[in-house]
């Protein structure tokens, strides 16, 4: 079975059925990474291009490992220093890459909408690996998968997303994803980091983290993206941490089986205390592990298996 779409660009577009198809496919691929021989021939002879306009160890590595475990040829392109310097447009770069007959292009771009523009021009599938402050759909899919795996369901869960909602593509994708799957999403963060009208995405806004986590099944802490903050949106890191950082004290307000998520990389002691990040409720490493499985599923559903 395939997704009835060419590209994976955002979660906003996905129906509940599509998300369920991706999650169930990922489940069947997850055990590949636990085998002694972590390799299936599904994408042998396929070419997958990872084109990263922003540096990323984790997401690029996850896509690359997913591709290689499916026997695809993975080509990494880090675009900060080459064609961009030479003044080529994104469209031309894309058309040129497509001329080399890739089967899928994974793209991370600093500008919101970059992958969408690419997808319009290309016949091959495009996967958005994060675009500006817009969406990071494969991250939200692995978060959904991880929560579903831990809780047995998503429908009806109370999900808190805490931090810099305004600048977080992870937050946007997850608000869409959890809403679509029937969860109740609350966002919380400094007022300067909550966009006006965010409720239209299908979430409610809560003022304090302590209040938000009462009754929460899932608390997703966002990373403070120091490298993206051109001007400070809060008085000091210490103050941010005191008010919006999750520590064992604040966590006492949550139910005993609350699940803690974080997209990584973690700023220990800023948005999350080490005790919570490494504690028994943390699913942070499950998210990473499941990320490979979800990306294998996306390749399978968009690029297709050998016997299709």
């Amino acid at each position: 079975m395939r997704l009835k779409r060419k590209d994976l660009l955002d979660i906003e577009d996905l129906s509940r059925d599509e998300i369920e198809l991706i999650m169930s496919t990922a489940k069947s691929f997850r055990e590949v990474s636990d085998r002694d021989i972590k390799k299936v021939p599904t994408l042998r002879g396929k070419t997958i291009i990872n084109m990263f306009y922003e540096p990323s160890t984790r997401t690029r590595t996850s896509f690359e490992i997913a591709a290689k475990r499916m026997s695809a040829d993975a080509i990494n392109i880090s675009v900060s220093t080459s064609s961009t310097v030479k003044g080529e447009t994104l469209k031309d770069t894309a058309k040129n890459l497509e001329a080399m007959n890739p089967d899928c292009i994974v793209i991370r771009h600093a500008s919101s909408g970059g992958p969408h523009m690419l997808a319009r021009y290309l016949k091959c599938p495009v996967i958005n690996a994060g675009d500006g402050t817009h969406e990071h759909p494969s991250q939200a899919l692995l978060d959904l998968f991880t929560v579903n795996d831990a809780k047995g369901r998503i429908e009806g869960l109370k999900v808190v997303i805490a931090g810099d909602i305004a600048h977080s593509r992870v937050a946007r994708s997850n608000i869409h994803g959890f809403s679509t799957m029937g969860a109740e999403v609350r966002v919380v963060g400094p007022p300067t980091m909550i966009p006006v009208g965010i409720e239209r995405l299908g979430c409610s806004v809560v003022d304090s983290l302590e209040e938000a986590i009462v009754g929460a099944d899932v608390v997703m802490m966002l990373r403070v993206q120091f490298e993206r903050l051109h001007r400070p949106l809060f008085p000091s890191i210490r103050e941010y941490s005191l008010v919006f950082g999750l520590d064992t004290e604040k966590l006492k307000k949550a139910p005993p089986d609350v699940a803690i998520l974080h997209p990584g990389p973690v700023n220990r002691g800023v948005e999350i205390s080490p005790e919570v990040a490494d504690g028994p409720y943390s699913l942070i490493l499950d998210q990473v592990k499941n990320g490979v499985a979800v990306r294998m599923a996306l390749f399978y559903l968009l690029v297709g298996g050998a016997k299709e």
Copy 2:
């Protein structure tokens, strides 16, 4: 069949028979990239090193895809930051790489003659992926292949090469290649960009682009390499574009079946207008597609097939 030479360093050296052998071999490899499973076992267990002393998305990716579709192990080395910093000579770098038993080294180097020096010291085949302002032979071979594919022949064609002839390794390789194959080559560009004595390479010099393209079968527009121009060789980009940029107006002087080539990356609106670059006469994306096939052919002819 193999080339009766160890290396591919420049087009100037190649005979007509050799160019024809490379083109016919490339033709047989081109369909591999159109298959569902884009992979042949020809170079299984061979190690190909791509050593790039200058950044290049396109050429490096093309060589890497070619190697992987032939089942070789491709190793990328980007040398700007490592050994060069440590003060090692190119010769020592090469001898050390050779000690790891590669089957072929592809090298791009900012200095003209870098690949030639390397080739003298190494027993394994060396492919020049562009050296300074000297030659870029795999680019010219894919240009020849593309023209031959579109026109059915090269002999007797009128070929215009327009732009910064003096600093273009693409121009030098193509002047040699098209002359050797019996085409008539005209070069055109600002006087500051036409080297004195260029006629000895086997081409004529024309003053104006309009004049040059009258009767032309092929017009190859060169990229204005802003990143290489340490001092401006023309008054302004706008003036360059007006006089030496190819647009639909100027193109009216050309015969109706003229073929437009450009080695990329394209500066849209500078040396070529978007209408021409994307127009019906443009073979720019064919060039890219054929580049993978030509590089597969070079690997096949220099490194050899499994059953040799």
Copy 3:
């Protein structure tokens, strides 16, 4: 057979039996790189991550080629620009990588002890590819292998290590390795580059290079690491070269069958003259060739073969 340890972190830890096991395993892998098809299926479906926090063409390439010739999936991560920028700790980076189920992590780190910290947190094998000024164990193992191969034994040999002993991880690993194998190790260098108490590692200190090489079976010249010298430890390069550089004149003091080693990259005319580096006694390129075999052996012994 496997090493009875999870990681390869330093030579200091290794017993004579372990070093002999690695050397004999490397011997059996060396011929793979001389074959026409340089590939064995031993590590098919295994994922090997090369994580380099310092740039390195040579060591990274050697590990990558070793992994690919054993059919493993090799993932390269160059960490200077990505996660470190984002403020993640080494421990978190490691735990996150492990969550993707790699079978081995090769790490080079600018801080001594970095790989050891990593190894404590990870269940998968960790190979130290050089940590600060501490150790570079795979380098010492390939040096031991090369000397054993050339001389037929290590026991009882007189081995000189010359240069910046204080800042050289290669020197420390080799002092441990050659001592353990029963060689007599002498170190020599400018007084500012000989750490106080170095004799406790199992070597003697000699004042002059001429004196040190009398009767030597092996002379290992260390690289002057200009990029690491924040303040000069000797008056001038010329003076260093005159006193501590190995040239044909000084080499006359050595026995006729002396073996010359250098870990590379070579500063020609500084610590070693071109005549000596390229001369008949030089094993420098054998070291590089054997490096691939030793790293294949390490992968085999730590990660294990398919039929284990």
